[in-house]
């Protein structure tokens, strides 16, 4: 479903960020993308999200190829690939429900569909009662749950998470991680970038792809993590 084939990525200022990276993330799989800061985790996620294109090699995502992809196809890909970040990236002047509705509206969804879908997703992330709250009125954990709900709004085949618990206390982090496991259990693949070695060890049943200085140095690889 997601394939990186001998991918290199070089940035004009910072140089080579990714060297000959290859892996295949299967449908419904849960994988950790680990490594120290600057190892290339975020670059991998950006390449999958097509925010960046490889300097060499190919990235394939659910039928889309980085080599053949036109600019106008990118929105179609992004509706199949949800993404969450460490800093949540919610619109501060909109309520939790409005943040979700916004993601539906900007992709041309009908207003009649929006309300039901927003309510369903808020309930799914356990925040139905907080629909009218603004991001600043929510805890970090709650904000990340809203961000996850937004990433799921188009029923993506994969959820990319870039250090999603990086800004959360332990309890909130655990709850967000459990939510991501639930999402994975319902069939959505999850690729989560983290440098939390303890978390990776605790959930050793999941696949681990480890990066160091832009190269994949370890991939537990096989189907162990496929649910």
């Amino acid at each position: 479903m997601i394939k990186l084939i001998n991918v290199y990525k070089e940035f004009p200022r910072s140089g080579l960020a990714l060297k000959n990276a290859s892996f295949h993330l299967r449908k419904g799989e849960f994988a950790f993308l680990t490594g120290p800061s600057g190892a290339g985790k975020t670059t991998v996620l950006q390449l999958i999200h097509m925010a960046e294109r490889p300097t060499d090699g190919e990235v394939r995502v659910s039928g889309f190829s980085s080599g053949r992809m036109r600019r106008r196809d990118i929105p179609k890909l992004r509706r199949r690939v949800g993404m969450v970040f460490q800093n949540f990236r919610l619109l501060r002047d909109r309520t939790a429900a409005e943040n979700l509705a916004f993601a539906l509206e900007v992709t041309g969804a009908r207003r009649s569909e929006m309300k039901a879908k927003v309510q369903r997703l808020l309930a799914h992330v356990g925040l139905a009662a907080r629909a009218g709250a603004y991001p600043d009125e929510l805890s970090g954990g709650e904000q990340q749950r809203i961000a996850i709900a937004r990433a799921l709004i188009h029923d993506p085949v994969v959820l990319l998470a870039d250090e999603p618990m990086g800004n959360l206390d332990e309890r909130a982090a655990r709850s967000v991680f459990e939510l991501m496991r639930d999402i994975n259990a319902s069939g959505t693949a999850v690729l989560m970038a983290t440098h939390d070695v303890e978390l990776v060890r605790r959930y050793s049943q999941y696949r681990v792809i480890e990066l160091s200085e832009g190269a994949i140095v370890y991939d537990s690889g096989n189907s162990d993590g496929v649910l």
Partner: protein
């Protein structure tokens, strides 16, 4: 989708009214300068047209010209493509005109035993043929007739008017383009500020799969509304300046409605174009 664009454009204007007013004022002031120049250019054109209408070729006829020859001359000259109208002035009419126009020489004219003034044919040219080359060509053709004594058309005046007209046209184009560029730069900068103020919102729209067109539409509408506001402000300021100047310093004519409407609409279109350019740059730069 259209509802979303209109709602977001209005919401954006409401969210940052200061920026919207600043943008509209900047556009308005740039277009105001253009408007003042437009009124000046229009009035210069009106004046030159009035002078140009008086451009005519006068053929003075020999005293022994026959009625048949006069008829040939009139028929021939009337058929020239350059000629709009033709008037025959007899010797008697020439004297009467001279007495009327030169009142102080009335006695001199009335004491004459014979009329020394020649009959003439006054030839008025069509507007498209009032340039020096056409006027000179018509004069040369008329001068070929043997019963035409002399042909006059005020060569220097025609040359000067024509030069003035061309100069006015060139200045209008250069200044017009310069002020339009200034307006575009100002609008572009202000729209870019608005885009940067909302870059996180744009980034999120892209994150969740909004197309470039969908992202662009509310900004384009916002740019058009702001530009139109600037255009209306410029129209108001220009008309106010016109009222102050007209009658007190110089008599002016207000520009035609199509100019005023076109100028105001141009503000909107400038806003649209500048928004489009600013946004295209942003969307390309930020992947």
């Amino acid at each position: 989708m259209a509802y979303y664009s209109v709602r977001e454009a209005i919401a954006a204007l409401r969210r940052a009214p200061g920026l919207a007013i600043l943008s509209a004022t900047s556009i308005g002031l740039s277009l105001f300068v253009l408007g003042i120049f437009g009124v000046a250019a229009y009035n210069l054109d009106v004046t030159l047209q009035a002078v140009e209408r008086r451009v005519e070729v006068v053929a003075y006829l020999r005293d022994d010209i026959s009625a048949a020859q006069l008829e040939v001359l009139q028929n021939d000259v009337s058929s020239f493509p350059e000629v709009e109208s033709l008037t025959h002035v007899s010797k008697f009419e020439a004297m009467r005109n001279a007495i009327q126009q030169l009142e102080e020489f009335r006695d001199v004219f009335t004491d004459l035993e014979m009329n020394p003034l020649p009959a003439s044919v006054e030839v008025r040219l069509r507007p498209a043929y009032r340039d020096p080359t056409s006027v000179a060509r018509v004069a040369e053709l008329i001068a070929l007739y043997p019963f035409v004594e002399d042909v006059r058309y005020g060569r220097e005046w025609v040359d000067k008017i024509y030069q003035l007209r061309r100069l006015g046209g060139a200045v209008a184009v250069i200044l017009g383009v310069a002020f339009a560029v200034v307006a575009i730069l100002i609008i572009g900068t202000t729209v870019r500020m608005a885009v940067l103020a909302r870059r996180e919102e744009i980034a999120i729209m892209r994150l969740v799969g909004a197309t470039d067109g969908f992202i662009r539409r509310p900004f384009l509408l916002e740019g058009f509304i702001t530009g139109l506001g600037g255009g209306l402000l410029a129209l108001f300021l220009t008309y106010a300046a016109f009222l102050v100047v007209d009658g007190s310093l110089i008599n002016l004519e207000w520009v035609p409605a199509s100019w005023a409407g076109g100028g105001t609409l141009a503000g909107g279109l400038l806003g649209l174009a500048a928004s489009g350019a600013a946004l295209r740059r942003h969307l390309t730069t930020y992947g």
